[in-house]
Every structure is written in structure tokens, then in C-alpha cells.
């Protein structure tokens, strides 16, 4: 066990985070942007679990548990907001949602 260097997991986490950032920046569909944010949360979770396991300390995994709780709450509220926007504008393209922009 733990023959794999810890750097491998951390690099994987960094790459997944970068893919998530790219998704947030280039996609115009609000739901896909939201899914990219979930991807970034998961890559952060991966590094937390990695350090927790390599240090033999369960606090990192408890933190991941709370991150998952917050992600569930965020998904529920965010999707409700997206539905409310869709009801008003009939699309969820984030280029056309600029009611707060002046």
C-alpha cells in the first residue's frame, strides 16, 4: 500500500481542476458551467482525501464529508435559480443573462 508517490494524486487533482476551470470559462450553458464547478469541488476533495490517507489522519475525510454536504445544498439552490431564470428568459445561456450588468 501507498507505493504510489503522493505527487501522482496531486497532479491528477490539479489537472482535473484545470479542466473544470476551462469548462467554466468556455461553456455558455449555465447547467454545464455548474457541472464544471462540481468537477472542481471533486478535484479539491481528491487532494484532501490523498493527504488524509497519506498522513493516516481522518480529519481530511471529515472535511470532504462537509464539502459534499455543501455541494448538495449548492446544487439544490443553484438548480432552483436556473429553473427560475429559465422561466423568465426561456433559455439558460449565460451570455444572455445580464440583468445585473449595466
Amino acid at each position: 500500500m501507498n507505493n504510489i508517490p503522493i505527487e501522482y494524486y496531486l497532479i491528477l487533482s490539479a489537472l482535473m481542476f484545470a479542466v473544470g476551470i476551462t469548462g467554466v470559462l468556455i461553456r455558455r450553458n449555465a447547467i454545464v458551467v455548474f457541472m464544471s464547478i462540481e468537477l472542481m469541488l471533486n478535484s479539491a476533495n481528491l487532494s484532501l482525501v490523498t493527504f488524509s490517507s497519506y498522513l493516516g489522519n481522518s480529519i481530511g475525510q471529515i472535511f470532504v464529508f462537509f464539502v459534499m454536504t455543501v455541494a448538495a445544498a449548492e446544487a439544490a439552490v443553484g438548480l432552483a435559480i436556473i429553473i427560475a431564470i429559465f422561466r423568465n428568459k426561456l433559455n439558460v445561456n449565460i451570455d444572455e443573462i445580464n440583468i445585473f450588468k449595466w
Partner: protein
């Protein structure tokens, strides 16, 4: 080349492949399905890291609950696929590539410069114990009982907020 390394490579490539496919698919439903695949690959990685509880919660909460919510909303909105992933803005694409490359360089520099594996003496016994349901449950109900209750209130507030936001009309 031991079995653990092979499993790591398989799950890591699967996770990366699924995340890239998620960002580049035009149909949002396919994006959601690839995100679920990514979550399963991550659950496999958590099992490799001896985090059994987190691996199971990942599948139940993320792949089960949250992604079903996403797919439900996609079904309700019934959107067409986008014609192009990048509609029009060329600067945005260049900007996105620069930002994500910078983030990767920054993180890779920190990871290799700080040499995180130097101070670690991985012990199988300790890391297996850290991830068990028993250990995490014990910590949650003793040292972390206040954050645990706060998380419960957060979920309640999120439920009420989602109901109010999704109601037909504001009064």
C-alpha cells in the same frame, strides 16, 4: 509495476478522460453522464486511498443524488444541443487556455517544489484506520458534532430556499 499502480493509472485516465469529455460535449445530457463516469472513477481512487466511507458516500450522494437532480433539471428544461461549444468568442478560448495552463503550472510547481512525499512515512495500518466508517463516525459525533449539526441546518435552509425559488410566483 504492481496491481495498485495499474489500478491507479486506469482510474486516473478514466477520470481525466471523463472530465475532458464532459467539458467538450455539445449535448448537456452527455456531459452529465460523463460527469457520473468521472465520479465513479474518483470513487475507485478513494478506495485505492483506503477511504472506504468517502468512496461509498461519493457514489450515493454525488453519482446518485446530485447527478439525478442535474439530469432531472436537464429533462425539465428540454434544451437543444448547442451548435458549437465556443460560440463566436475567440478571445475567450485563448483566455481560458492561458488561465488553466497557469493554474496547472502553479500547482505543479508547488507540488514538485515543496516535495510533499519527503516528510511522509506512509503506514498502511494508520491509513486504513483513518478511512473506516467507525473512525469517521466517531470523529463526527464527538469532536465535530457542532459542524455536523450546522451541516444539517444548512441542508434544511437549502431545501426551503430551493422550494421558494422554484415556486411559480413570488408574493
Amino acid at each position: 509495476m504492481n496491481a495498485e499502480l495499474i489500478l491507479f493509472i486506469v482510474f486516473a485516465l478514466l477520470a481525466l478522460f471523463a472530465s475532458v469529455m464532459m467539458v467538450t460535449r455539445k449535448n448537456p445530457v452527455l456531459s452529465a453522464v460523463f460527469l457520473i463516469l468521472n465520479f465513479f472513477a474518483l470513487a475507485g481512487l478513494y478506495l485505492l486511498l483506503n477511504a472506504q466511507f468517502i468512496a461509498v458516500v461519493q457514489i450515493i450522494v454525488y453519482a446518485g443524488a446530485i447527478m439525478v437532480l442535474f439530469l432531472f433539471v436537464l429533462m425539465l428544461l428540454n434544451q437543444r444541443s448547442e451548435e458549437k461549444i465556443l460560440n463566436g468568442k475567440k478571445n475567450l478560448k485563448i483566455f481560458a487556455i492561458i488561465v488553466s495552463a497557469l493554474v496547472v503550472f502553479q500547482l505543479a510547481y508547488i507540488i514538485f517544489y515543496s516535495k510533499p512525499s519527503a516528510g511522509l512515512a506512509p503506514e498502511l495500518q494508520k491509513s486504513v484506520q483513518a478511512g473506516t466508517v467507525e473512525q469517521i463516525g466517531h470523529q463526527l459525533y464527538t469532536n465535530y458534532v457542532l459542524p455536523f449539526e450546522a451541516a444539517g441546518f444548512l441542508l434544511l435552509a437549502a431545501t426551503v430556499g430551493a422550494l421558494i425559488l422554484a415556486k411559480k410566483k413570488f408574493e
